[in-house]
């Protein structure tokens, strides 16, 4: 059983590395978004550093959402989803493997790139690590909330914008606690650990709920 799990994980990682169009595009999109913000707000470094964590979090959220519709669509089109459904591996674990691969190729690089992009919005040095840390523990939640939306819209020919519309309202808690943990590292009355631990809890809960819901949605689409 764990062999099948690892096989799906490896396959998705190899696909992401060789076929392109996944993680690295999300990174470029993230960079573009962060670069666009100062043009809209003006080059005021004080303002930028104050709202820096918010910019990075919004950028990561949008960059994650943008590629999500392909999570199950490719497998649905070439029939490998039917093979996965027919295999002995529970569909929940298959979804977990695919979600994990999505996070490893999208969320993890975004979190690692965040300190670099932080330089662009004049993020203070002491806030770099907390922002990267919140993104590291928060982006799995985005991947797995998104997996539910991707599973619901897997068979759609004219999906497109529907996925972000479904998923975005559900990411409100993650965004709130991600940004508030990052901001508390910049100073404030709330200790860093409180929102950070709630963010971890959200990620863990989403990991379970998202996996089960996505697997249920894939079964219904059959």
């Amino acid at each position: 059983m764990s062999e099948a799990f690892l096989a799906i994980l490896k396959r998705d990682l190899a696909l992401a590395a060789r076929a392109g169009g996944g993680g690295e595009l999300a990174l470029v999109f993230f960079l573009t978004l962060v670069v666009l913000v100062p043009f809209a707000l003006g080059p005021d470094l004080n303002l930028l550093s104050r709202i820096g964590p918010a910019i990075l979090w919004l950028g990561a959220l949008l960059a994650t959402l943008i590629g999500l519709d392909r999570l199950f669509q490719g497998d649905e089109e070439d029939g490998s989803l039917d093979l996965i459904r027919a295999s002995a591996l529970p569909l929940e674990l298959a979804v977990l493997a695919k979600g994990l691969a999505h996070w490893l190729t999208t969320g993890l690089p975004l979190a690692l790139a965040a300190p670099l992009l932080g330089l662009l919005v004049a993020l203070p040095a002491e806030a770099m690590l907390p922002v990267a840390g919140t993104l590291l523990v928060g982006t799995p939640a985005l991947s797995f909330i998104g997996a539910t939306g991707a599973a619901l819209t897997a068979g759609l020919k004219r999906g497109g914008l529907i996925l972000p519309i479904l998923v975005a309202p559900l990411t409100v808690p993650v965004l709130i606690f991600g940004v508030s943990a990052s901001n508390s590292a910049l100073g404030g009355t709330v200790p860093f650990l409180t929102p950070f631990l709630i963010l971890c809890a959200l990620s863990l809960a989403t990991l379970v709920i998202g996996t089960i819901a996505a697997a249920a949605a894939l079964r219904q689409a059959d």
């Binding site: 819209t153 529907i162 519309i165 309202p169 559900l170 709130i176 606690f177 929102p195």
Partner: protein, 252 residues
């Protein structure tokens, strides 16, 4: 033939609902008339808020109903996924626009009330924000209904989305509360407010029941329309198949 068997239960529903509907409409009209009369002519103006307090009589029932219809949709979603009740997804599809409407009414009346009271149409207060997010979830559910063509498949997909949303709504409420208290500790909202006077409470309760009956009547009408729509769809498919067979026979 499966669709014919499915029609058996809805037929009973159609008969029952056509008998219930006039009573619902009549009771709703009566209660709304009495409630609005009491609210506009009998209930006193608030000593602080003046005449604008009368917005409350629409605002508060709308907020209740927006939440009630979402809960009803979650129960229908369970009905679709667990019990496979043939009417559950009809009930859920019919409930979504009505719930969204009440959320919108709640937001608009809230904005109109906010302008004279707080001096602004919109405040990023925790309660307002949660209703706004609820409204967005309603819109997402309606969008998913429209993008999936096959009603039974759409019903199951929307049921899953509804349940995921239902789990999320309390989390969103909690996090928005946290977010708001973090950003503006001294809110324009007075916590609690004065306890409500019976002269205002009675019209409010009567109107709440009246609006609920009105919403249920609308829900019944929407469900009947949806059942009719599905029958037309099934009949169209049968007719197309018959014509196909006819054409094939002629060709032979």
């Amino acid at each position: 033939m499966a669709s014919l068997i499915e029609l058996a239960n809805p037929t009973r529903f159609m008969r029952l609902s056509s008998r219930l509907l006039p009573w619902f409409v009549g009771a709703a009209a009566l209660l709304l008339a009495v409630g609005f009369y009491l609210a506009f002519f009998v209930a006193p103006a608030d000593y602080q808020q003046g005449e604008t307090i009368r917005i409350m009589f629409v605002h508060v029932p709308a907020a209740w109903l927006a939440l009630m219809f979402y809960s009803m949709m979650a129960v229908s979603a369970l009905g679709t996924l667990v019990w496979r009740h043939p009417l559950a997804d009809v009930a859920q599809k019919a409930a979504a626009p009505i719930g969204a409407c009440f959320a919108l009414i709640c937001l608009i009346t809230g904005a109109l009330w906010g302008k004279p009271m707080w001096g602004t149409y919109w405040v990023w207060d925790a309660r307002l924000t949660s209703v706004l997010v609820l409204f967005l979830i309603y819109l997402g559910i309606m969008a998913l209904w429209r993008t999936l063509d096959d009603p039974s498949r759409a019903g199951r997909a929307v049921a899953i989305l509804t349940l995921v949303g239902f789990v999320n709504v309390p989390i969103i409420k909690f996090s928005v509360d946290w977010w708001n208290t973090l950003h503006q500790p001294a809110s324009v909202f007075r916590a609690g407010g004065p306890t409500i006077h019976p002269a205002m409470l009675w019209p409010l309760l009567i109107l709440a029941v009246g609006f609920t009956l009105l919403a249920l009547a609308l829900h019944l009408v929407a469900m009947r329309a949806e059942i009719m729509r599905r029958r037309v769809r099934t009949l169209t498919i049968f007719e197309a198949e018959r014509l196909d067979r006819l054409a094939a026979e002629v060709a032979i």
